[in-house]
């Protein structure tokens, strides 16, 4: 029933304040919810929570969310392969690993995320994406948007405006996708370019694509309009009120256990430690005094830690004891620039106090750190 009469209402600011404890159980029929938070970890935790705790047999859910700048890699990807980690650290852009598969994406407030929660049996990505396309066309009929068989949405037949990923559990499933409305394309392309050479890995690779923002086609559009159009179309297809309920991902009474889910997503062990085993084989060309040194480095990294480390230096460039000390200390250590910096500078305290030696050590270590 319903929908036309609600056409006027419901921008996102209209919220039905249901008593929290009854919220999930009282709502009957499918739900449209939106996060008030722009924190990538909190929002990913909401997806986890719904996936683990909600009985989607009773109600399917559409979840709308946006994040402040972040790079999100897929469950089985390698962040070193996918993005420029140095740049991320410099620009204070967060790195998150989601639980669904697929490739790497850049989020900022100009990107809208949609998650479709269903039971495992009702999991159907094409239908969801067609819903989005239908909504966009209803909003602006002249938009040339269509779904491809790789589950992307293309604008003008060539620009990717949406990427998809999914997570399936025993009884529940979710399909989420991005939608580029007004994201910073310049930052996007620079952070998604990996500078790291010599990486060999079986991690899922991303497929790069040319992107475009929806708003470049029609500057009168806003994120609110897009979200509302999608919510409206979902409401029509699911025969419910066109009504978006705001939820706060920090609300422990509404979502018991959510803060520990959020914390887990932020840990180094999840973000970096879940990287599938990979190896680095490269040659550092270090300019020293009047010559250039060739230093061959080979490392195996498992669970984000250096499992095997080999550094081939010109003979006696460093005293052999020191060389083996460096290799021994790096083995088992996190493949992380901060950890390595503190490690090598601390080790320097127990080396012979020789300026020449110190400068060689620092030079070598700084180049090693640049690999991370």
């Amino acid at each position: 029933m319903v929908l036309q009469s609600f056409k006027n209402c419901l921008w996102l600011s209209c919220v039905l304040r249901t008593p929290k404890a009854c919220f999930w159980s009282a709502a009957s029929g499918d739900l449209i919810i939106q996060s008030v938070s722009n924190d990538i970890y909190q929002n990913l935790a909401v997806e986890d929570w719904i996936h683990d705790h909600m009985d989607l047999e009773k109600q399917q859910i559409l979840f709308l969310w946006r994040n402040s700048p972040a790079v999100v890699i897929g469950r089985h990807q390698n962040p070193w392969q996918e993005c420029n980690l140095r740049l991320l650290r410099q620009k204070n852009i967060k790195l998150a690993r989601r639980r669904s598969g697929g490739g790497t994406v850049y989020h900022d407030l100009g990107n809208v995320n949609l998650t479709f929660f269903t039971t495992r049996k009702k999991y159907e990505r094409m239908g969801n994406l067609e819903l989005v396309v239908k909504a966009l066309k209803a909003l602006r009929p002249q938009l040339d948007v269509r779904v491809t068989d790789r589950y992307d949405i293309l604008l003008d037949g060539q620009y990717k405006i949406s990427g998809t990923a999914a997570k399936l559990g025993r009884t529940s499933a979710y399909h989420h996708c991005t939608l580029l409305c007004n994201a910073d394309k310049f930052v996007l392309s620079s952070v998604l370019k990996s500078p790291y050479k010599g990486l060999k890995s079986n991690a899922t690779p991303s497929v790069p694509a040319s992107v475009k923002n929806l708003f470049e086609e029609d500057a009168s559009l806003t994120s609110e309009m897009v979200l509302d159009a999608i919510a409206k179309e979902y409401a029509v297809q699911h025969q419910i009120n066109h009504h978006i309920t705001l939820i706060n991902p920090a609300d422990e009474t509404l979502l018991p256990g959510i803060s520990s889910k959020t914390k887990e997503l932020e840990t180094w062990e999840w973000v970096y430690g879940k990287t599938p085993k990979f190896s680095i084989s490269t040659c550092l060309n270090i300019a020293y005094k009047d010559s250039v040194l060739d230093v061959k480095v080979n490392m195996d990294v498992k669970h984000g830690r250096i499992e095997v480390c080999n550094i081939e230096l010109p003979e006696h460039w460093l005293p052999p004891g020191l060389h083996s000390e460096l290799v021994k200390s790096l083995t088992g250590s996190k493949f992380c620039p901060n950890e390595t910096t503190t490690l090598v500078t601390t080790l320097l305290r127990v080396c012979p106090q020789d300026d020449e030696l110190h400068s060689r050590w620092s030079l070598l270590c700084e180049n090693m750190i640049r690999l991370m």
Partner: protein, 475 residues
């Protein structure tokens, strides 16, 4: 007491103690008090080939990305077995059976086929049948004991009764939020979970009600308590299922072990004193707003650091380094004063370079820079090397006196306690409120003697107690 079963079935399997433990796990853990009788006849565990079920969307093959179990692990129904990926979808495969993993049919990155076997699970025939057949003779406190299983980090704490309730209702324990101690799953949690599934409206149960363990809610009502005498003292052992956790010492921690071991080879002596910072506190209050306008947070450290540098000009041996064989002392020209910082990783000591040519304000600017880099985990190698003298402001966390450890290759270190407001006598014999801070110095007794340390400390103290005197000697 563990019960060994002799197997006489045709499959060629001998008893391994591990094998027996799996089935009598609960008996093993609390073996003093509990004995397990099986009423069903002993038989071989049946090996079932668990096939990869349909993923949907017509997908026929997936890539195995991560195993959550290995051969020999025991699994319960609904525990996660592995993670597979297909065309941007990541799928968690869960077990349909209780049993022991006997074979993994694929390695990481292999392609697995829908409908083909994924793992072989040995189902315990007696366990596979309804649990009511087990007759468990337990001591009175059995409800306190809990069994837990660990499969690659998925740990669920719940009493046997709660586990049975979950099983009967087809609930996966890892999907239930435990609100008891240590996230233990209580009966109420199962009921709450069920209510959510059926759509029943439950009033929110505040956490406080969850805390008393299951057992006490079955206790007699209050009225009868009066008739009771003094409650009987604890006569049963307290079941504690916590486990020790061993981790290797790696990376930065390993380096600290080396450094600290070397440091303790240095013969340390200590020297402590009390500094009256009343005037400095006032001075800082006046200067803080000026620094703020310039965009800098001004703490006490820039003053302590500058005063130390002025002292080192008079006593340069404290800014020196002794070589390994103790043959030569090198007097360092630069005063690179290290500031100990507490971060997530542990203690790191970046240093402010060339304090001897820096103003107090410049030191404050540099400190701000090092502090923000330190908290972001982005300090560079040059920030962390080259230090010649260290101050550790442990007082920001707490404490008065300390016994700091010298950081090689330096020869001295100072630990600053917290600033306390204490009563002191002034020159006229009157009591006044003084801002007192304690300093604890440690120095290398091979080349530093007590008198030198004392004189340096006195000079440093006089600069801080009477900040105007710093003006005379500032370069």
């Amino acid at each position: 007491v563990c019960i060994h079963r002799v197997r006489s079935c045709s499959s060629i399997r001998f008893i391994k103690s591990k094998y027996v433990c799996v089935f009598d796990k609960s008996a093993f853990k609390f073996s003093h008090q509990q004995r397990l009788f099986r009423t069903s006849p002993v038989s071989c565990g049946q090996i079932v080939q668990f096939k990869l079920s349909d993923i949907g969307e017509g997908i026929t093959e997936v890539t195995v990305k991560e195993w959550y179990v290995k051969e020999g692990d025991s699994v319960s129904q609904f525990d996660s077995i592995c993670e597979v990926q297909s065309d941007k979808a990541s799928v968690t495969i869960t077990s349909r059976y209780d049993g022991v993993i006997r074979k993994l049919h694929y390695s990481i990155d292999d392609i697995a086929f829908v409908g083909k076997p994924l793992v072989d699970i040995e189902i315990d025939a007696s366990k596979g049948v309804a649990p009511e057949e087990d007759v468990v003779e337990t001591p009175p406190m059995s409800h306190e004991e809990h069994t837990h299983q660990e499969i690659k980090g998925h740990k669920t704490l719940a009493t046997p009764a709660v586990r049975r309730l979950a099983m009967e209702n087809n609930i996966k324990l890892s999907e239930v939020v435990g609100t008891g101690k240590d996230n233990r799953i209580l009966k109420e949690d199962i009921l709450n979970y069920l209510a959510k599934q059926t759509g029943a409206i439950l009033p929110p149960s505040p956490r406080g009600e969850m805390v008393p363990p299951l057992r006490r809610t079955e206790a007699v009502p209050a009225a009868k308590d009066k008739a009771r005498k003094v409650p009987a003292p604890l006569s049963r052992p307290i079941a504690f299922s916590g486990k020790d956790r061993t981790e290797p010492v790696t990376g930065f921690q390993k380096a600290m072990v080396k450094t600290m071991s070397a440091a303790l080879k240095i013969p340390h002596f200590g020297y402590c004193d009390e500094i009256d910072l009343t005037q400095l506190v006032q001075l800082r209050e006046e200067l803080k707003p000026i620094a703020e306008i310039r965009g800098v947070k001004l703490s006490f450290m820039p003053f302590f650091i500058k005063a130390a540098s002025l002292g080192l000009l008079q006593y340069p041996i404290l800014n020196a380094s002794l070589d390994e064989n103790c043959q030569n002392v090198t007097y360092k020209a630069s005063h690179n004063i290290g500031v100990a910082m507490d971060t997530e990783q542990g203690l790191i000591v970046p240093n402010v370079k060339n304090v001897q040519v820096c103003s107090v304000f410049e030191i404050a600017v540099e400190l701000n820079r090092l502090q923000s880099l330190g908290s972001a985990g982005q300090l560079g190698t040059s920030d962390l090397t080259g230090g010649t003298f260290t101050l550790s402001n442990i007082g920001t966390i707490g404490g008065t006196y300390a016994k700091p450890v010298i950081l090689p290759p330096e020869v001295a270190i100072g630990a600053l306690g917290k600033i306390q407001v204490l009563p002191r006598f002034n020159g006229r014999g009157e009591v006044f409120k003084a801002q007192i801070m304690n300093v604890s110095w440690s120095a290398d007794h091979r080349i530093i003697d007590g008198a030198t340390m004392a004189r340096f400390s006195n000079l440093w103290k006089s600069y801080l107690e009477n900040p105007a005197s710093m003006l005379l000697d500032l370069k």
